[in-house]
């Protein structure tokens, strides 16, 4: 298992696309920071995070996480997860891995660990780049103004950035698990990635539909934005606790179906 993980890591690390995707995740905060620096927003209106991001660079990662977690991170994570098995099937290499022989359960476990690592790395890359870019553009200042009703020290803010990063990774793990499941079923990594993005987008649209009522509370990305409360109150928002629990059954269900499917699948690719 260790050997397999090591070779899978080597394949991922030597893959140009890994860096293209992560480079994309890094480029967006840099570009936005430059734009805000060159052309500061009117403090009186607009999104709360963007309005205040120019007052301290430590709110800029929150602003970026908020907009990026809705689509860009979903797409990047969908690409990584969708590629896991379907990417190997697509090139035909899957059949040669299996006859090495690598047991199917072991192969799935290794691919899943790589996917999880990429998911976490992508989210950390985003907030780390945004923290650095925001701090350089607008300074690493504490918050001591009335916008968010609480004062926050630099250490506090950095801690909250870390918590938000972990929370968003965990919430988006549902998207990864779904993409991973579809990846065991198709020979097209693009189709699996598309399915993952489709799930992410659909969940967010359904969240907006008031008439669905409490059904929405069971949709995977219901509490995607719950971490925002960390920055404007002095308590951990209650929705974050719900948001920590909600992904568990979804992730387990998607992974179980993927595992069951792949174990009995006829590999024709």
């Amino acid at each position: 298992m260790i050997a397999l993980l090591r070779t899978e890591c080597a394949k991922t690390v030597r893959r140009p696309r890994t860096y293209v995707a992560l480079g994309f995740v890094m480029a967006i905060p840099v570009v936005v920071a430059l734009a805000l620096w060159a052309n500061p927003p009117d403090p009186g209106d607009g999104d709360r995070f963007f309005r205040t991001a120019t007052q301290t660079g430590l709110l800029f990662p929150a602003a970026m996480l908020r907009i990026m977690s809705r689509l860009v991170l979903v797409v990047v994570i969908g690409l990584f997860a969708g590629d896991a098995i379907a990417g190997e099937a697509n090139t035909g290499n899957l059949r040669y891995m299996l006859v090495r022989p690598i047991g199917r359960g072991r192969l799935l476990a290794a691919k899943l660990l790589i996917t999880v690592a990429l998911l976490v790395i992508a989210t950390i890359t985003l907030t780390a780049t945004a923290t650095l870019a925001g701090g350089l553009a607008f300074g690493f200042e504490p918050i001591s103004f009335q916008v968010f009703f609480v004062d926050q020290s630099v250490g506090n803010l950095l801690g909250h950035i870390g918590m938000a990063t972990a929370y968003v990774s965990w919430t988006l793990a549902v998207v990864a698990a779904f993409g991973f499941m579809v990846s065991t079923m198709t020979d097209s990594p693009a189709a699996a990635a598309g399915a993952a993005v489709g799930l992410g987008v659909t969940c967010q649209i359904l969240n907006e539909i008031e008439s669905l009522g409490s059904i929405r509370d069971y949709l995977p990305l219901r509490y995607l934005d719950a971490w925002e409360g960390l920055f404007w109150s002095d308590r951990v928002p209650g929705d974050m606790y719900s948001g920590l629990v909600l992904p568990i059954p979804w992730i387990l269900a998607f992974l179980a179906v993927g595992w069951w499917w792949f174990r009995r699948k006829d590999v024709l690719a």
């Binding site: 696309r17 006859v99 590999v267």
Partner: protein, 313 residues
């Protein structure tokens, strides 16, 4: 091959027992197929496209689950991850690699993914066979089809396998490369490696295989030693003569000549043990003009005959 010398010949290496694969209600790809490839044999699996060759080979290496029946390799019942598969080299439906890695890196990561140290792999021998030279340091996505196929054969040989399962190993290769693969198969067979290869090229199978499995529409048509299936290569001769009646009389007088059959353009003669030159000499001496003498291409006849009979049923 030190491993192989400990096993007696005749020991079954690859075996199908009533192997059946039904993909859907209407698609029965392989139907109650049974055959055995014994140690040291080079077995050719022959059949028209869609006969179920690839499906069978995939079942034999654990990629497809049989609907019923057993596939056995090196004594183990095949399932995904069967450890014995590590001693079977495989090439199925074209070689495939991780395109963004170099040729050599592909081999190494593939090898190490199974948990064995790179030093244990027969790297030099495999690379010598692939004959890719410095190209092994290039990314696989820059390879031609032939180069990939050769790297695929090299990968199949890394483990010094006891058995090889090769699905249409020469597809897409140029004549020079086809000849190299044929030589390689013969050489490996000489070293005691048991080989099962599929092909729709009769000539390829005829030249390299000691045994045959003929499939048609998922069913076994025939199996046995190549010689028995197609007649001994020199046991039959095709003659074109100017006087068939006279020729028949002369042939009847030669000891060892068996049945004589009239065909459209000439005669097919069973010549068990009699030299072709002797027959021609006798005919000419008897005043019969001989235009053509050729060894009969029996495999094609045998193959078409076998498959044709099935179709006629």
């Amino acid at each position: 091959m030190p491993e192989t010398s400990t096993h007696p010949p005749g020991d079954p290496v690859i075996e199908a027992r009533a192997l059946t694969k039904r993909f859907s209600a209407s698609v029965l790809a392989v139907d109650e197929l049974s055959f055995v490839v014994e140690r040291g044999q080079v077995c050719g699996m022959l059949g028209p496209n869609g006969a179920g060759k690839t499906t069978t080979l995939r079942m034999l290496v654990g990629l497809i689950q049989p609907t019923s029946g057993d596939a056995r390799v090196l004594g183990g019942r095949v399932r995904p991850g069967l450890p014995e598969l590590a001693r079977v080299g495989t090439l199925i439906e074209g070689a495939a690699f991780v395109p963004h890695l170099r040729g050599l890196t592909n081999l190494r990561l593939w090898w190490e993914s199974g948990g064995s140290p790179w030093e244990d792999a027969a790297v030099d021998a495999a690379l010598a066979i692939a004959g890719l030279g410095d190209a092994v340091h290039r990314k696989v996505k820059t390879y031609s089809h032939g180069m990939r196929q050769r790297l695929g054969i090299a990968r199949a040989l890394l483990a010094r396998p006891e058995a090889l399962v090769l699905d249409e190993p020469t597809t897409g290769l140029d004549p020079q490369e086809i000849r190299e693969v044929r030589r390689l198969v013969s050489r490996l067979a000489g070293e005691g490696v048991t080989i099962l290869l599929s092909s729709h090229l009769l000539s390829e199978v005829e030249q390299t295989c000691t045994h045959l499995v003929v499939l048609d529409r998922g069913r076994l048509v025939s199996t046995g030693p190549t010689g028995a299936l197609i007649g001994e290569a020199d046991s039959s001769v095709y003659l074109e003569v100017d006087d068939r009646d006279a020729a028949e009389r002369v042939l009847a007088s030669i000891a060892g000549v068996g049945a004589v059959q009239r065909e459209v353009g000439g005669l097919t003669v069973d010549i068990d043990g009699v030299a072709r030159s002797e027959i021609v000499a006798a005919l000419v001496h008897g005043g019969v003009g001989v235009q053509t003498v050729t060894a009969r291409r029996r495999l094609e006849d045998a193959f078409l005959g076998l498959v044709g009979e099935e179709h006629a049923r």
